[in-house]
Symmetry: C2
Subunit: 290 residues, 2 copies
Amino acid sequence: MHKLAIYHLETLLWIARLGTFRAAAERLNTTQPAISARVREIESQLGLAIFRREGRGVVLTARGRQLVQDCEPLLAGLESALLEAGGHAGAAGVVRIAAGEIAAATCLPHFASAVRKDLPGVTLHIDLDLTARMLQNVLSGTRDIAFLAGPVASPGLRTARIGEVSLVWLASPETAAQGGLQAATPVWSIGEHSPIHRVTCESLQMAGLPVRAINTCNNVATMLGIVASGTGAALFPETMARPMMKSGALVECAPPPSSQICFEVAVRSNESDPVVLELFRRAAMFSIAG
Amino acid sequence: MHKLAIYHLETLLWIARLGTFRAAAERLNTTQPAISARVREIESQLGLAIFRREGRGVVLTARGRQLVQDCEPLLAGLESALLEAGGHAGAAGVVRIAAGEIAAATCLPHFASAVRKDLPGVTLHIDLDLTARMLQNVLSGTRDIAFLAGPVASPGLRTARIGEVSLVWLASPETAAQGGLQAATPVWSIGEHSPIHRVTCESLQMAGLPVRAINTCNNVATMLGIVASGTGAALFPETMARPMMKSGALVECAPPPSSQICFEVAVRSNESDPVVLELFRRAAMFSIAG
DNA sequence: CTGAATTAATAAGAGTTTTTTATGCATAAG
DNA sequence: CTTATGCATAAAAAACTCTTATTAATTCAG
Protein backbone atom coordinates (compact mmCIF):
# COMPACT_ATOMS: atom_id res chain seq x y z
CA MET A 1 0.00 0.00 0.00
CA HIS A 2 2.41 2.70 1.10
CA LYS A 3 6.11 2.79 1.28
CA LEU A 4 5.73 4.49 4.61
CA ALA A 5 7.64 2.96 7.44
CA ILE A 6 7.15 3.24 11.13
CA TYR A 7 9.93 5.74 11.41
CA HIS A 8 8.12 8.07 9.04
CA LEU A 9 5.29 8.34 11.49
CA GLU A 10 7.62 8.48 14.43
CA THR A 11 9.28 11.40 12.73
CA LEU A 12 5.94 13.10 12.44
CA LEU A 13 5.23 12.60 16.11
CA TRP A 14 8.53 14.06 17.17
CA ILE A 15 8.18 17.09 14.95
CA ALA A 16 4.76 17.64 16.45
CA ARG A 17 6.14 17.31 19.95
CA LEU A 18 9.25 19.40 19.54
CA GLY A 19 7.98 21.92 17.07
CA THR A 20 10.83 22.04 14.61
CA PHE A 21 12.47 19.73 12.11
CA ARG A 22 15.83 20.45 13.63
CA ALA A 23 14.83 19.38 17.10
CA ALA A 24 13.22 16.24 15.75
CA ALA A 25 16.38 15.51 13.78
CA GLU A 26 18.46 15.73 16.93
CA ARG A 27 16.02 13.63 18.88
CA LEU A 28 16.07 10.97 16.21
CA ASN A 29 19.82 11.03 15.74
CA THR A 30 19.78 12.15 12.18
CA THR A 31 20.08 15.31 10.11
CA GLN A 32 17.54 17.96 9.28
CA PRO A 33 17.51 17.25 5.54
CA ALA A 34 16.66 13.65 6.33
CA ILE A 35 13.68 14.86 8.32
CA SER A 36 12.66 17.14 5.49
CA ALA A 37 12.86 14.23 3.09
CA ARG A 38 10.74 12.02 5.31
CA VAL A 39 8.09 14.65 5.66
CA ARG A 40 8.07 15.28 1.95
CA GLU A 41 7.71 11.55 1.41
CA ILE A 42 4.76 11.28 3.77
CA GLU A 43 3.05 14.27 2.27
CA SER A 44 3.43 12.99 -1.24
CA GLN A 45 2.34 9.49 -0.35
CA LEU A 46 -0.73 10.78 1.38
CA GLY A 47 -1.38 13.59 -1.05
CA LEU A 48 -1.83 15.83 1.92
CA ALA A 49 -0.17 18.87 3.40
CA ILE A 50 0.78 17.96 6.93
CA PHE A 51 2.76 21.08 7.69
CA ARG A 52 2.25 24.64 6.67
CA ARG A 53 5.56 26.45 6.15
CA GLU A 54 5.11 29.51 8.24
CA GLY A 55 7.84 32.06 8.64
CA ARG A 56 11.02 30.18 9.22
CA GLY A 57 9.24 27.32 10.95
CA VAL A 58 6.42 24.92 10.33
CA VAL A 59 3.07 24.32 11.95
CA LEU A 60 0.76 21.36 11.70
CA THR A 61 -2.27 21.71 9.48
CA ALA A 62 -5.61 20.60 10.89
CA ARG A 63 -5.40 17.32 9.06
CA GLY A 64 -1.83 16.88 10.06
CA ARG A 65 -2.72 17.31 13.70
CA GLN A 66 -5.52 14.83 13.30
CA LEU A 67 -3.18 12.33 11.74
CA VAL A 68 -0.65 12.73 14.52
CA GLN A 69 -3.32 12.27 17.15
CA ASP A 70 -4.66 9.18 15.44
CA CYS A 71 -1.25 7.65 14.98
CA GLU A 72 0.25 8.20 18.37
CA PRO A 73 -1.62 5.54 20.34
CA LEU A 74 -1.46 3.09 17.47
CA LEU A 75 2.25 3.54 17.13
CA ALA A 76 2.72 3.14 20.85
CA GLY A 77 0.65 -0.01 20.74
CA LEU A 78 2.68 -1.40 17.90
CA GLU A 79 6.00 -0.79 19.53
CA SER A 80 4.70 -2.16 22.73
CA ALA A 81 3.56 -5.32 20.98
CA LEU A 82 6.92 -5.70 19.28
CA LEU A 83 8.68 -5.17 22.54
CA GLU A 84 6.64 -7.65 24.47
CA ALA A 85 6.99 -10.22 21.74
CA GLY A 86 10.73 -10.13 22.14
CA GLY A 87 10.51 -10.20 25.92
CA HIS A 88 11.93 -6.69 25.91
CA ALA A 89 15.15 -8.14 24.59
CA GLY A 90 14.62 -6.23 21.39
CA ALA A 91 14.37 -2.93 23.20
CA ALA A 92 16.78 -0.60 21.55
CA GLY A 93 17.53 3.02 21.16
CA VAL A 94 18.71 5.95 23.16
CA VAL A 95 16.91 6.99 26.31
CA ARG A 96 17.74 10.41 27.64
CA ILE A 97 17.99 10.61 31.36
CA ALA A 98 18.16 13.72 33.47
CA ALA A 99 19.24 13.37 37.07
CA GLY A 100 19.93 15.52 40.05
CA GLU A 101 23.32 15.02 41.56
CA ILE A 102 22.17 13.18 44.67
CA ALA A 103 19.76 10.96 42.83
CA ALA A 104 22.43 10.30 40.24
CA ALA A 105 24.97 9.23 42.80
CA THR A 106 22.49 7.14 44.73
CA CYS A 107 20.39 5.50 42.03
CA LEU A 108 22.07 5.67 38.68
CA PRO A 109 24.95 3.23 39.08
CA HIS A 110 22.60 0.47 40.07
CA PHE A 111 20.02 1.47 37.49
CA ALA A 112 22.49 1.74 34.64
CA SER A 113 23.95 -1.68 35.30
CA ALA A 114 20.49 -3.22 35.51
CA VAL A 115 19.60 -1.69 32.16
CA ARG A 116 22.83 -2.81 30.60
CA LYS A 117 22.12 -6.32 31.78
CA ASP A 118 18.41 -6.69 30.97
CA LEU A 119 18.04 -4.38 28.00
CA PRO A 120 21.36 -4.50 26.25
CA GLY A 121 20.09 -2.65 23.23
CA VAL A 122 19.23 0.44 25.18
CA THR A 123 21.74 3.24 25.41
CA LEU A 124 21.47 5.82 28.16
CA HIS A 125 22.37 9.44 27.77
CA ILE A 126 22.63 10.92 31.21
CA ASP A 127 22.80 14.59 32.00
CA LEU A 128 23.04 15.99 35.49
CA ASP A 129 21.08 19.13 35.98
CA LEU A 130 19.03 21.20 38.37
CA THR A 131 15.55 20.05 39.22
CA ALA A 132 13.79 22.92 37.50
CA ARG A 133 15.63 22.51 34.24
CA MET A 134 15.23 18.74 34.37
CA LEU A 135 11.49 18.97 34.66
CA GLN A 136 11.33 21.49 31.88
CA ASN A 137 13.36 19.22 29.64
CA VAL A 138 11.22 16.23 30.41
CA LEU A 139 8.06 18.16 29.74
CA SER A 140 9.37 19.46 26.45
CA GLY A 141 10.55 16.04 25.33
CA THR A 142 14.24 16.86 25.39
CA ARG A 143 14.72 14.30 28.14
CA ASP A 144 12.77 11.12 28.65
CA ILE A 145 13.18 10.28 32.30
CA ALA A 146 14.32 12.27 35.31
CA PHE A 147 15.74 10.99 38.57
CA LEU A 148 15.42 13.61 41.23
CA ALA A 149 15.32 14.30 44.92
CA GLY A 150 12.39 15.69 46.77
CA PRO A 151 8.75 15.38 45.90
CA VAL A 152 7.77 17.10 42.69
CA ALA A 153 4.36 17.31 41.16
CA SER A 154 3.33 18.87 37.91
CA PRO A 155 0.52 18.37 35.53
CA GLY A 156 2.00 16.61 32.60
CA LEU A 157 4.38 14.66 34.74
CA ARG A 158 4.06 11.16 36.07
CA THR A 159 6.24 10.39 39.04
CA ALA A 160 6.97 7.40 41.21
CA ARG A 161 8.78 7.34 44.48
CA ILE A 162 11.77 5.08 44.34
CA GLY A 163 13.22 5.27 47.77
CA GLU A 164 14.59 7.40 50.58
CA VAL A 165 17.99 8.22 51.86
CA SER A 166 18.88 9.31 55.35
CA LEU A 167 20.71 12.50 56.05
CA VAL A 168 23.62 12.85 58.41
CA TRP A 169 25.42 15.84 59.86
CA LEU A 170 29.04 15.45 58.99
CA ALA A 171 32.22 17.30 59.66
CA SER A 172 35.88 16.51 59.62
CA PRO A 173 37.06 14.65 62.70
CA GLU A 174 38.88 17.76 63.93
CA THR A 175 35.88 20.02 63.56
CA ALA A 176 33.67 17.43 65.24
CA ALA A 177 36.06 17.13 68.16
CA GLN A 178 36.06 20.88 68.65
CA GLY A 179 32.41 20.91 69.62
CA GLY A 180 30.39 19.35 66.87
CA LEU A 181 27.65 21.15 65.06
CA GLN A 182 27.31 23.81 67.73
CA ALA A 183 30.77 25.10 67.09
CA ALA A 184 31.04 24.30 63.40
CA THR A 185 31.42 27.28 61.19
CA PRO A 186 30.21 27.70 58.64
CA VAL A 187 27.28 25.43 57.86
CA TRP A 188 27.12 24.39 54.25
CA SER A 189 24.16 23.46 52.15
CA ILE A 190 23.26 23.18 48.54
CA GLY A 191 21.14 25.77 46.75
CA GLU A 192 17.96 27.30 48.07
CA HIS A 193 15.62 25.04 46.19
CA SER A 194 16.97 21.73 47.27
CA PRO A 195 15.05 19.64 49.80
CA ILE A 196 18.31 19.24 51.68
CA HIS A 197 18.42 22.95 52.25
CA ARG A 198 15.00 22.86 53.85
CA VAL A 199 15.96 20.02 56.17
CA THR A 200 19.16 21.83 57.05
CA CYS A 201 17.23 24.87 58.23
CA GLU A 202 14.70 22.77 60.13
CA SER A 203 17.45 20.80 61.80
CA LEU A 204 19.25 23.90 62.96
CA GLN A 205 16.07 25.34 64.40
CA MET A 206 15.16 22.13 66.21
CA ALA A 207 18.63 21.93 67.65
CA GLY A 208 18.06 25.39 69.07
CA LEU A 209 20.81 26.77 66.90
CA PRO A 210 20.46 30.05 65.09
CA VAL A 211 19.91 29.72 61.39
CA ARG A 212 23.10 31.48 60.62
CA ALA A 213 24.21 32.58 57.21
CA ILE A 214 24.53 29.30 55.35
CA ASN A 215 27.17 28.79 52.72
CA THR A 216 25.95 27.05 49.63
CA CYS A 217 27.53 24.98 46.92
CA ASN A 218 25.54 23.50 44.11
CA ASN A 219 27.59 20.34 44.02
CA VAL A 220 27.51 17.78 46.78
CA ALA A 221 30.70 16.05 45.82
CA THR A 222 32.57 19.32 45.98
CA MET A 223 30.92 20.13 49.27
CA LEU A 224 32.06 16.81 50.68
CA GLY A 225 35.61 17.78 49.85
CA ILE A 226 35.23 21.20 51.41
CA VAL A 227 33.82 19.91 54.65
CA ALA A 228 36.32 17.08 54.81
CA SER A 229 39.10 19.62 54.61
CA GLY A 230 37.93 20.97 57.94
CA THR A 231 35.74 23.83 56.89
CA GLY A 232 32.46 23.66 58.75
CA ALA A 233 29.76 21.00 58.69
CA ALA A 234 26.91 20.02 56.45
CA LEU A 235 23.99 17.71 56.12
CA PHE A 236 24.78 15.02 53.58
CA PRO A 237 22.86 12.16 52.07
CA GLU A 238 24.20 9.14 53.85
CA THR A 239 24.68 7.20 50.64
CA MET A 240 26.96 9.79 49.11
CA ALA A 241 29.00 10.31 52.24
CA ARG A 242 29.39 6.67 53.16
CA PRO A 243 32.82 6.16 51.57
CA MET A 244 34.28 9.18 53.33
CA MET A 245 32.69 8.12 56.62
CA LYS A 246 34.21 4.69 56.24
CA SER A 247 37.62 6.13 55.55
CA GLY A 248 37.33 8.40 58.55
CA ALA A 249 37.56 11.59 56.53
CA LEU A 250 34.18 12.63 57.85
CA VAL A 251 32.40 11.84 61.10
CA GLU A 252 28.97 12.54 62.49
CA CYS A 253 28.87 15.76 64.45
CA ALA A 254 25.21 15.88 65.47
CA PRO A 255 22.22 13.54 65.77
CA PRO A 256 20.69 12.83 62.36
CA PRO A 257 17.44 14.58 61.51
CA SER A 258 14.36 12.46 61.27
CA SER A 259 13.53 13.79 57.83
CA GLN A 260 14.71 11.85 54.85
CA ILE A 261 15.23 12.80 51.27
CA CYS A 262 12.97 10.94 48.94
CA PHE A 263 13.81 10.08 45.38
CA GLU A 264 11.47 10.02 42.46
CA VAL A 265 11.51 9.13 38.81
CA ALA A 266 9.50 11.24 36.44
CA VAL A 267 8.31 10.91 32.86
CA ARG A 268 5.89 12.90 30.78
CA SER A 269 2.45 11.69 31.69
CA ASN A 270 1.60 11.23 28.04
CA GLU A 271 4.81 9.42 27.28
CA SER A 272 4.04 6.70 24.77
CA ASP A 273 7.37 5.18 23.92
CA PRO A 274 7.24 1.67 25.33
CA VAL A 275 10.98 1.55 25.90
CA VAL A 276 10.84 4.68 28.00
CA LEU A 277 7.82 3.39 29.86
CA GLU A 278 9.50 0.09 30.49
CA LEU A 279 12.52 1.86 31.86
CA PHE A 280 10.30 3.98 34.05
CA ARG A 281 8.56 0.87 35.31
CA ARG A 282 11.85 -0.79 36.09
CA ALA A 283 13.24 2.30 37.77
CA ALA A 284 10.16 2.51 39.96
CA MET A 285 10.25 -1.17 40.87
CA PHE A 286 13.84 -2.07 41.20
CA SER A 287 14.86 0.88 43.30
CA ILE A 288 12.53 -0.10 46.09
CA ALA A 289 14.65 -3.14 46.57
CA GLY A 290 17.98 -1.39 46.02
CA MET B 1 14.04 1.96 17.59
CA HIS B 2 13.60 -0.63 14.90
CA LYS B 3 14.19 -0.52 11.23
CA LEU B 4 10.95 -2.39 10.87
CA ALA B 5 8.51 -0.94 8.41
CA ILE B 6 4.82 -1.37 8.15
CA TYR B 7 5.22 -3.82 5.32
CA HIS B 8 7.29 -6.09 7.52
CA LEU B 9 4.34 -6.58 9.80
CA GLU B 10 1.94 -6.76 6.91
CA THR B 11 4.09 -9.56 5.56
CA LEU B 12 3.79 -11.35 8.86
CA LEU B 13 0.04 -11.06 8.80
CA TRP B 14 -0.27 -12.45 5.33
CA ILE B 15 2.00 -15.37 6.05
CA ALA B 16 -0.11 -16.12 9.08
CA ARG B 17 -3.28 -15.91 7.02
CA LEU B 18 -2.12 -17.87 4.01
CA GLY B 19 0.17 -20.31 5.70
CA THR B 20 3.18 -20.21 3.39
CA PHE B 21 5.82 -17.73 2.33
CA ARG B 22 5.03 -18.38 -1.30
CA ALA B 23 1.37 -17.55 -0.95
CA ALA B 24 2.20 -14.39 0.98
CA ALA B 25 4.70 -13.45 -1.70
CA GLU B 26 2.05 -13.75 -4.38
CA ARG B 27 -0.45 -11.85 -2.32
CA LEU B 28 2.00 -9.06 -1.78
CA ASN B 29 3.21 -8.97 -5.37
CA THR B 30 6.73 -9.95 -4.63
CA THR B 31 8.97 -12.98 -4.57
CA GLN B 32 9.48 -15.66 -1.99
CA PRO B 33 13.09 -14.73 -1.21
CA ALA B 34 11.91 -11.22 -0.44
CA ILE B 35 9.46 -12.64 2.06
CA SER B 36 12.17 -14.81 3.57
CA ALA B 37 14.37 -11.76 3.92
CA ARG B 38 11.65 -9.76 5.61
CA VAL B 39 10.94 -12.51 8.08
CA ARG B 40 14.60 -12.95 8.83
CA GLU B 41 14.84 -9.21 9.39
CA ILE B 42 11.94 -9.17 11.81
CA GLU B 43 13.22 -12.15 13.72
CA SER B 44 16.66 -10.70 14.08
CA GLN B 45 15.39 -7.28 15.08
CA LEU B 46 13.14 -8.77 17.71
CA GLY B 47 15.51 -11.50 18.76
CA LEU B 48 12.64 -13.88 18.55
CA ALA B 49 11.69 -16.93 16.53
CA ILE B 50 8.38 -16.13 14.92
CA PHE B 51 8.21 -19.23 12.75
CA ARG B 52 9.30 -22.75 13.38
CA ARG B 53 10.62 -24.38 10.21
CA GLU B 54 8.66 -27.55 10.07
CA GLY B 55 9.04 -29.97 7.20
CA ARG B 56 8.97 -27.98 4.04
CA GLY B 57 6.75 -25.31 5.52
CA VAL B 58 6.63 -23.04 8.50
CA VAL B 59 4.30 -22.65 11.45
CA LEU B 60 3.91 -19.78 13.84
CA THR B 61 5.45 -20.13 17.26
CA ALA B 62 3.32 -19.20 20.25
CA ARG B 63 4.98 -15.83 20.53
CA GLY B 64 4.70 -15.30 16.83
CA ARG B 65 1.00 -15.92 16.95
CA GLN B 66 0.66 -13.53 19.84
CA LEU B 67 2.56 -10.88 17.93
CA VAL B 68 0.39 -11.31 14.87
CA GLN B 69 -2.76 -11.05 16.93
CA ASP B 70 -1.52 -7.94 18.67
CA CYS B 71 -0.41 -6.27 15.48
CA GLU B 72 -3.41 -6.89 13.30
CA PRO B 73 -5.81 -4.36 14.78
CA LEU B 74 -3.07 -1.81 15.29
CA LEU B 75 -1.96 -2.12 11.71
CA ALA B 76 -5.50 -1.81 10.48
CA GLY B 77 -5.95 1.28 12.63
CA LEU B 78 -2.79 2.83 11.29
CA GLU B 79 -3.66 2.30 7.68
CA SER B 80 -7.11 3.52 8.32
CA ALA B 81 -5.76 6.68 9.90
CA LEU B 82 -3.41 7.27 7.00
CA LEU B 83 -6.20 6.70 4.56
CA GLU B 84 -8.61 9.03 6.23
CA ALA B 85 -5.97 11.69 6.57
CA GLY B 86 -5.57 11.75 2.82
CA GLY B 87 -9.30 11.68 2.23
CA HIS B 88 -8.86 8.25 0.71
CA ALA B 89 -6.94 9.87 -2.10
CA GLY B 90 -3.86 8.06 -0.93
CA ALA B 91 -5.53 4.68 -1.17
CA ALA B 92 -3.26 2.49 -3.21
CA GLY B 93 -2.55 -1.10 -3.93
CA VAL B 94 -4.10 -4.05 -5.61
CA VAL B 95 -7.52 -5.25 -4.60
CA ARG B 96 -8.49 -8.69 -5.83
CA ILE B 97 -12.03 -9.01 -6.94
CA ALA B 98 -13.89 -12.18 -7.67
CA ALA B 99 -17.12 -11.93 -9.58
CA GLY B 100 -19.75 -14.15 -11.02
CA GLU B 101 -20.37 -13.57 -14.68
CA ILE B 102 -23.74 -11.89 -14.28
CA ALA B 103 -22.66 -9.71 -11.43
CA ALA B 104 -19.53 -8.86 -13.36
CA ALA B 105 -21.45 -7.78 -16.44
CA THR B 106 -24.00 -5.86 -14.43
CA CYS B 107 -21.99 -4.22 -11.69
CA LEU B 108 -18.33 -4.18 -12.51
CA PRO B 109 -18.14 -1.66 -15.33
CA HIS B 110 -19.78 0.98 -13.20
CA PHE B 111 -17.84 -0.02 -10.11
CA ALA B 112 -14.50 -0.09 -11.85
CA SER B 113 -14.94 3.34 -13.33
CA ALA B 114 -16.03 4.74 -9.99
CA VAL B 115 -12.94 3.30 -8.36
CA ARG B 116 -10.70 4.60 -11.09
CA LYS B 117 -12.17 8.04 -10.60
CA ASP B 118 -12.28 8.31 -6.80
CA LEU B 119 -9.38 6.09 -5.79
CA PRO B 120 -6.93 6.39 -8.61
CA GLY B 121 -4.20 4.60 -6.73
CA VAL B 122 -6.17 1.41 -6.43
CA THR B 123 -5.67 -1.31 -8.99
CA LEU B 124 -8.30 -3.98 -9.44
CA HIS B 125 -7.55 -7.57 -10.30
CA ILE B 126 -10.76 -9.16 -11.42
CA ASP B 127 -11.31 -12.86 -11.86
CA LEU B 128 -14.58 -14.36 -12.96
CA ASP B 129 -15.40 -17.59 -11.25
CA LEU B 130 -18.14 -19.78 -9.89
CA THR B 131 -19.84 -18.79 -6.69
CA ALA B 132 -18.47 -21.65 -4.62
CA ARG B 133 -14.88 -21.06 -5.61
CA MET B 134 -15.28 -17.34 -5.18
CA LEU B 135 -16.43 -17.70 -1.62
CA GLN B 136 -13.68 -20.14 -0.85
CA ASN B 137 -11.12 -17.72 -2.24
CA VAL B 138 -12.50 -14.83 -0.27
CA LEU B 139 -12.50 -16.85 2.92
CA SER B 140 -8.95 -17.98 2.38
CA GLY B 141 -7.71 -14.51 1.61
CA THR B 142 -6.88 -15.20 -2.03
CA ARG B 143 -9.53 -12.71 -3.09
CA ASP B 144 -10.61 -9.62 -1.23
CA ILE B 145 -14.09 -8.88 -2.48
CA ALA B 146 -16.65 -10.92 -4.35
CA PHE B 147 -19.52 -9.72 -6.48
CA LEU B 148 -22.04 -12.44 -6.87
CA ALA B 149 -25.61 -13.28 -7.71
CA GLY B 150 -28.08 -14.83 -5.34
CA PRO B 151 -28.11 -14.60 -1.60
CA VAL B 152 -25.17 -16.23 0.11
CA ALA B 153 -24.48 -16.50 3.77
CA SER B 154 -21.54 -17.99 5.53
CA PRO B 155 -19.92 -17.51 8.85
CA GLY B 156 -16.79 -15.61 8.13
CA LEU B 157 -18.38 -13.59 5.36
CA ARG B 158 -19.88 -10.18 5.47
CA THR B 159 -22.28 -9.45 2.67
CA ALA B 160 -24.32 -6.52 1.49
CA ARG B 161 -27.07 -6.52 -1.09
CA ILE B 162 -26.30 -4.16 -3.89
CA GLY B 163 -29.28 -4.43 -6.19
CA GLU B 164 -31.55 -6.62 -8.26
CA VAL B 165 -31.91 -7.36 -11.91
CA SER B 166 -35.01 -8.55 -13.70
CA LEU B 167 -35.07 -11.70 -15.75
CA VAL B 168 -36.62 -12.04 -19.15
CA TRP B 169 -37.44 -15.01 -21.35
CA LEU B 170 -35.70 -14.47 -24.64
CA ALA B 171 -35.46 -16.23 -27.93
CA SER B 172 -34.52 -15.32 -31.45
CA PRO B 173 -37.29 -13.52 -33.34
CA GLU B 174 -37.87 -16.63 -35.48
CA THR B 175 -38.18 -18.97 -32.53
CA ALA B 176 -40.48 -16.53 -30.74
CA ALA B 177 -42.70 -16.26 -33.79
CA GLN B 178 -42.98 -20.02 -33.98
CA GLY B 179 -44.87 -20.24 -30.70
CA GLY B 180 -42.78 -18.61 -28.03
CA LEU B 181 -41.64 -20.42 -24.95
CA GLN B 182 -44.19 -23.21 -25.37
CA ALA B 183 -42.64 -24.34 -28.59
CA ALA B 184 -39.08 -23.39 -27.93
CA THR B 185 -36.70 -26.28 -27.76
CA PRO B 186 -34.52 -26.63 -25.96
CA VAL B 187 -34.60 -24.45 -22.88
CA TRP B 188 -31.20 -23.29 -21.79
CA SER B 189 -29.96 -22.40 -18.38
CA ILE B 190 -26.68 -21.99 -16.58
CA GLY B 191 -25.39 -24.59 -14.15
CA GLU B 192 -27.38 -26.28 -11.44
CA HIS B 193 -26.26 -24.05 -8.64
CA SER B 194 -27.12 -20.73 -10.14
CA PRO B 195 -30.12 -18.80 -8.86
CA ILE B 196 -31.14 -18.36 -12.50
CA HIS B 197 -31.51 -22.09 -12.83
CA ARG B 198 -33.91 -22.19 -9.93
CA VAL B 199 -36.04 -19.42 -11.37
CA THR B 200 -36.01 -21.12 -14.74
CA CYS B 201 -37.50 -24.29 -13.25
CA GLU B 202 -40.05 -22.33 -11.22
CA SER B 203 -41.08 -20.34 -14.27
CA LEU B 204 -41.60 -23.39 -16.38
CA GLN B 205 -43.74 -25.00 -13.72
CA MET B 206 -45.86 -21.90 -13.20
CA ALA B 207 -46.37 -21.64 -16.94
CA GLY B 208 -47.70 -25.17 -16.83
CA LEU B 209 -44.86 -26.37 -18.96
CA PRO B 210 -43.04 -29.61 -18.25
CA VAL B 211 -39.62 -29.16 -16.74
CA ARG B 212 -38.01 -30.77 -19.69
CA ALA B 213 -34.39 -31.69 -19.93
CA ILE B 214 -32.69 -28.36 -19.68
CA ASN B 215 -29.51 -27.64 -21.56
CA THR B 216 -26.90 -25.83 -19.56
CA CYS B 217 -24.00 -23.60 -20.36
CA ASN B 218 -21.85 -22.08 -17.69
CA ASN B 219 -21.39 -18.83 -19.56
CA VAL B 220 -24.21 -16.39 -20.12
CA ALA B 221 -22.55 -14.51 -22.94
CA THR B 222 -22.08 -17.71 -24.87
CA MET B 223 -25.64 -18.71 -24.12
CA LEU B 224 -26.86 -15.41 -25.49
CA GLY B 225 -25.12 -16.21 -28.75
CA ILE B 226 -26.56 -19.70 -28.88
CA VAL B 227 -30.10 -18.58 -28.27
CA ALA B 228 -29.76 -15.66 -30.66
CA SER B 229 -28.74 -18.10 -33.36
CA GLY B 230 -32.19 -19.62 -33.13
CA THR B 231 -31.59 -22.52 -30.81
CA GLY B 232 -34.23 -22.54 -28.09
CA ALA B 233 -34.99 -19.98 -25.40
CA ALA B 234 -33.56 -19.01 -22.04
CA LEU B 235 -34.10 -16.79 -19.07
CA PHE B 236 -31.57 -13.98 -19.11
CA PRO B 237 -30.71 -11.14 -16.81
CA GLU B 238 -32.24 -8.14 -18.46
CA THR B 239 -29.11 -6.06 -18.09
CA MET B 240 -26.97 -8.51 -19.99
CA ALA B 241 -29.44 -9.08 -22.77
CA ARG B 242 -30.38 -5.46 -23.27
CA PRO B 243 -28.02 -4.75 -26.17
CA MET B 244 -29.23 -7.78 -28.12
CA MET B 245 -32.85 -6.92 -27.38
CA LYS B 246 -32.24 -3.42 -28.66
CA SER B 247 -30.67 -4.70 -31.81
CA GLY B 248 -33.52 -7.11 -32.37
CA ALA B 249 -31.36 -10.21 -32.16
CA LEU B 250 -33.43 -11.44 -29.23
CA VAL B 251 -37.06 -10.83 -28.32
CA GLU B 252 -39.23 -11.70 -25.36
CA CYS B 253 -41.00 -14.98 -25.84
CA ALA B 254 -42.91 -15.26 -22.57
CA PRO B 255 -44.03 -13.06 -19.69
CA PRO B 256 -41.15 -12.28 -17.34
CA PRO B 257 -41.07 -14.11 -14.03
CA SER B 258 -41.72 -12.10 -10.91
CA SER B 259 -38.54 -13.32 -9.27
CA GLN B 260 -35.46 -11.22 -9.59
CA ILE B 261 -31.82 -12.01 -9.21
CA CYS B 262 -30.22 -10.15 -6.37
CA PHE B 263 -26.61 -9.13 -6.25
CA GLU B 264 -24.36 -9.04 -3.27
CA VAL B 265 -20.85 -8.01 -2.39
CA ALA B 266 -18.95 -10.10 0.09
CA VAL B 267 -15.76 -9.69 2.11
CA ARG B 268 -14.24 -11.70 4.90
CA SER B 269 -15.97 -10.65 8.06
CA ASN B 270 -12.62 -10.13 9.74
CA GLU B 271 -11.19 -8.16 6.87
CA SER B 272 -9.02 -5.43 8.26
CA ASP B 273 -7.49 -3.74 5.26
CA PRO B 274 -9.02 -0.29 5.17
CA VAL B 275 -8.72 -0.05 1.41
CA VAL B 276 -10.67 -3.23 0.96
CA LEU B 277 -13.23 -2.13 3.50
CA GLU B 278 -13.58 1.23 1.82
CA LEU B 279 -14.16 -0.48 -1.51
CA PHE B 280 -16.70 -2.75 0.09
CA ARG B 281 -18.46 0.26 1.56
CA ARG B 282 -18.50 2.01 -1.77
CA ALA B 283 -19.67 -1.08 -3.59
CA ALA B 284 -22.52 -1.49 -1.15
CA MET B 285 -23.52 2.16 -1.32
CA PHE B 286 -23.02 3.18 -4.87
CA SER B 287 -24.68 0.20 -6.45
CA ILE B 288 -27.98 1.00 -4.83
CA ALA B 289 -28.03 4.11 -6.92
CA GLY B 290 -26.60 2.52 -10.06
C1' DC C 1 11.88 -46.76 -3.54
C1' DT C 2 12.53 -43.53 -6.94
C1' DG C 3 11.23 -39.28 -9.28
C1' DA C 4 8.49 -35.13 -9.49
C1' DA C 5 6.86 -31.29 -7.11
C1' DT C 6 6.60 -28.05 -3.43
C1' DT C 7 8.70 -24.97 -0.02
C1' DA C 8 12.21 -22.30 2.15
C1' DA C 9 17.17 -20.80 2.48
C1' DT C 10 21.12 -18.70 0.32
C1' DA C 11 24.12 -15.91 -2.74
C1' DA C 12 25.20 -12.33 -5.92
C1' DG C 13 24.09 -8.59 -8.61
C1' DA C 14 20.89 -4.79 -9.86
C1' DG C 15 18.14 -1.22 -8.72
C1' DT C 16 16.12 1.97 -5.68
C1' DT C 17 15.91 4.59 -1.34
C1' DT C 18 17.72 7.12 2.12
C1' DT C 19 21.18 9.77 4.13
C1' DT C 20 24.76 12.94 4.23
C1' DT C 21 27.31 17.10 3.08
C1' DA C 22 27.19 21.51 1.37
C1' DT C 23 24.67 25.35 0.11
C1' DG C 24 20.95 28.83 -0.51
C1' DC C 25 17.01 31.46 0.94
C1' DA C 26 13.76 33.41 4.04
C1' DT C 27 12.65 35.13 8.50
C1' DA C 28 13.26 36.64 13.14
C1' DA C 29 16.14 38.79 16.55
C1' DG C 30 19.75 41.84 18.28
C1' DC D 1 21.93 45.94 9.18
C1' DT D 2 23.91 42.06 10.80
C1' DT D 3 23.59 37.68 12.85
C1' DA D 4 21.31 33.51 13.91
C1' DT D 5 17.89 30.20 13.15
C1' DG D 6 15.17 26.99 10.35
C1' DC D 7 13.82 24.74 6.16
C1' DA D 8 14.58 23.53 1.13
C1' DT D 9 17.46 21.74 -2.41
C1' DA D 10 21.21 19.25 -5.00
C1' DA D 11 24.54 15.85 -5.73
C1' DA D 12 27.28 12.19 -4.14
C1' DA D 13 27.68 8.35 -0.97
C1' DA D 14 25.86 4.73 1.60
C1' DA D 15 22.45 1.43 2.71
C1' DC D 16 18.93 -1.28 1.83
C1' DT D 17 15.68 -4.35 -0.68
C1' DC D 18 14.50 -6.89 -4.47
C1' DT D 19 15.20 -10.21 -8.14
C1' DT D 20 17.19 -14.14 -10.35
C1' DA D 21 19.31 -18.55 -9.83
C1' DT D 22 20.43 -22.22 -7.28
C1' DT D 23 20.44 -25.50 -3.32
C1' DA D 24 18.51 -28.35 0.25
C1' DA D 25 14.89 -30.61 2.45
C1' DT D 26 10.48 -32.77 2.48
C1' DT D 27 6.23 -34.63 0.71
C1' DC D 28 3.61 -37.16 -2.55
C1' DA D 29 2.78 -40.36 -6.26
C1' DG D 30 3.68 -44.12 -9.14
